[in-house]
C-alpha cells in the first residue's frame, strides 16, 4: 500500500541488500485473496513472499531479510549486545507509535497533550542517537530502517495538523538525523511522493475530525 510506513521498512531492507522484488499494491478496503491467504492471522500489509513462503510483521520481515541475505549489507550489527539494543529501541518505537497517531486524531488541548507526549517518547528514543550519525552507527542500521519513516511522515503530520513536534530546540539530534537519512539515495528512492502523501493525510485528517 503506497502510503504505509510499515511497507517502506521492508522496501528499504530489500533495496539495501540489492534484492530484486515485485511490489504488489493492495487496496486495503478490498483485500485480495492472496493477502488473506498469505496472512490469515492479521490480514495486514506488508507481507513478504520469498520462494512461496510468506512472512508478516514488518519488524520481523526486516530481520528475516537480514538473515536470509546475510552476505549483503549488514542491517543488524554483529555484536549480540548491539543487536539487543537495536531490538529494544525498535520495540520501544513500536509500542509508542500510538502517541504519534494520537496527534493526528485530536485537536486543541488534547492535541497539545498528544504532541507533548510524542515529544517525550521521541526524546527517550533520541538518546540512542547520541554520538552517532545513524542509530546503526556510521551507516543505516535496523533501528534507522524501523523508525526512519518519521523523517518523511512526521513533517507531513506536523503540517497537516498545525503542530510542531520535531524541532531544533526540543529534538536536535533527531532533526539532524532526519536530514541525514533522507539524503541516503537508496532510501530516498523508495519514499512516496510528498505532495501525494500530504494530500492523502489532509483528506484523512478531515475524515477523522468529522467522525
Amino acid at each position: 500500500m503506497w502510503a504505509s510506513p510499515m511497507v517502506i521498512r521492508v522496501e528499504w531492507a530489500l533495496r539495501l541488500k540489492g534484492v530484486e522484488y515485485e511490489y504488489v499494491d493492495e487496496d486495503l478496503a478490498n483485500k485480495s485473496a492472496d493477502l488473506l491467504r498469505y496472512n490469515p492471522v492479521t490480514k495486514k500489509v506488508p507481507v513478504l513472499v520469498h520462494d512461496g513462503k510468506p512472512i508478516a510483521e514488518s519488524t520481523i520481515i526486516v530481520e528475516y531479510i537480514d538473515e536470509a541475505w546475510n552476505g549483503g549489507y549488514p542491517i543488524m550489527a554483529a555484536d549480540p549486545y548491539e543487536r539487543a539494543q537495536a531490538r529494544f529501541w525498535a520495540r520501544y518505537a513500536e509500542d509508542k507509535v500510538r502517541a504519534l497517531y494520537a496527534i493526528f486524531s485530536t485537536t486543541s488541548e488534547a492535541q497539545r497533550k498528544a504532541a507533548h507526549e510524542a515529544q517525550q517518547c521521541l526524546k527517550t528514543l533520541e538518546t540512542a542517537l547520541e554520538g552517532k550519525k545513524f542509530f546503526g552507527g556510521d551507516a543505516v542500521g535496523y533501528v534507522d530502517i524501523i523508525v526512519g519513516w518519521y523523517a518523511h511522515w512526521l513533517p507531513v503530520v506536523e503540517e497537516v495538523c498545525g503542530v510542531s513536534v520535531v524541532t531544533d530546540e526540543e529534538l536536535p539530534l533527531l532533526k539532524a538525523w532526519f536530514g541525514r537519512l533522507l539524503a541516503v539515495d537508496v532510501l530516498k528512492a523508495a519514499l512516496p511522493d510528498r505532495d501525494r502523501l500530504l494530500a492523502a493525510n489532509k483528506a484523512r485528517r478531515e475524515q477523522v475530525l468529522s467522525a
Partner: protein
C-alpha cells in the same frame, strides 16, 4: 589462564512469567546466574537504574551490560552464550517463531484479561471466543510435535510459558474455564509436557503458591478490569 566470565544477574519478581522465560533460557544454555528478587510494589534503585525506560522486570545484567524486555533478552542470551540454540537456525523458521512470540505478547492480554477478571455482570462470550481462537491458532503451530521447538523446549515454548502454567492457575482462581482437552488436545498435551520438564520445574513458581498469590489479588484485578473495560 582463562579470563573469568562476566557475572550474570537477573532482576526479577515473584510470579512473573516474563522472568521465568529468562530463567529458562539461562538454564537451557547452562549459564549460572544470580536472581535478584524485586518487591514489585516497592521497586528498588537498582531496577530504576537499569531499566529507566520501562521500570519493569526482567532485566538481565551481564557484566557491565544491561538488557531489558524479555523477548529481547531471550535473543541476546541465544546469541551471547554458547549452548544449545533456543531459536531455529533457518531464517524462515526464525521468522515464524518471532511472529508467534509477538502474537502471544500482543494478542492474548486483552481477551484473557477481560475473560477472567470481569464479573458475572459482564458478557464474556466475545472475549472467551477471541481467547479460544488465539489459542487454536497457536496450537496449530505445534504441527504434531511435542514442543514448538520440536523434540525439545525452545524459544517459542518458553515465550508461551504463561499459557502452560499461569493460565490454569487463573482458571482456578476465577472459576472461569477457557481451555478443555476436547477443543485443544495438542495445546493441553504441550502444556502438560512443558510443566513436567525437569528444567522448567527448577524455576517454575509452585502452583498452590501462585493460586494463593493471585487469589489475594483477585479483587484488585477485578477492579482494574472493570475500570478498563469501560474506557
Amino acid at each position: 589462564m582463562a579470563a573469568e566470565a562476566p557475572a550474570v544477574k537477573l532482576i526479577g519478581g515473584y510470579g512473573s512469567p516474563y522472568v521465568h522465560r529468562i530463567e529458562m533460557a539461562l538454564r537451557l544454555k547452562g549459564v549460572t546466574y544470580e536472581l535478584i528478587l524485586e518487591d514489585l510494589r516497592n521497586k528498588s534503585e537498582l531496577l530504576f537504574k537499569h531499566n529507566p525506560v520501562h521500570k519493569l522486570v526482567p532485566v538481565l545484567l551481564h557484566g557491565d551490560r544491561t538488557v531489558c524486555e524479555s523477548l529481547v533478552i531471550l535473543e541476546y542470551i541465544d546469541e551471547a552464550f554458547d549452548g544449545p540454540p533456543l531459536l531455529p537456525a533457518d531464517p524462515y523458521e526464525r521468522s515464524e517463531a518471532r511472529f508467534w512470540a509477538q502474537f502471544i505478547d500482543q494478542k492474548f492480554a486483552r481477551p484473557f484479561w477481560f475473560s477472567f477478571w470481569t464479573g458475572d455482570d459482564v458478557d464474556k462470550r466475545a472475549f472467551l471466543k477471541e481467547a479460544k481462537e488465539n489459542l487454536t491458532l497457536l496450537e496449530a503451530q505445534l504441527k504434531g510435535r511435542s514442543f514448538f521447538g520440536g523434540d525439545t523446549i525452545g524459544f517459542l515454548d518458553i515465550t508461551a510459558c504463561a499459557l502452560a502454567h499461569w493460565l490454569g492457575v487463573t482458571e482456578e482462581v476465577t472459576g472461569v474455564t477457557l481451555v478443555n482437552k476436547e477443543e485443544l488436545p495438542a495445546f493441553c498435551k504441550w502444556a502438560d509436557g512443558y510443566i513436567s520438564d525437569e528444567t522448567v520445574k527448577q524455576c517454575l513458581p509452585v502452583r498452590d503458591e501462585l493460586v494463593a498469590y493471585f487469589s489475594a489479588r483477585k479483587e484488585m484485578y477485578m477492579a482494574r478490569a472493570r475500570a478498563t473495560l469501560h474506557k
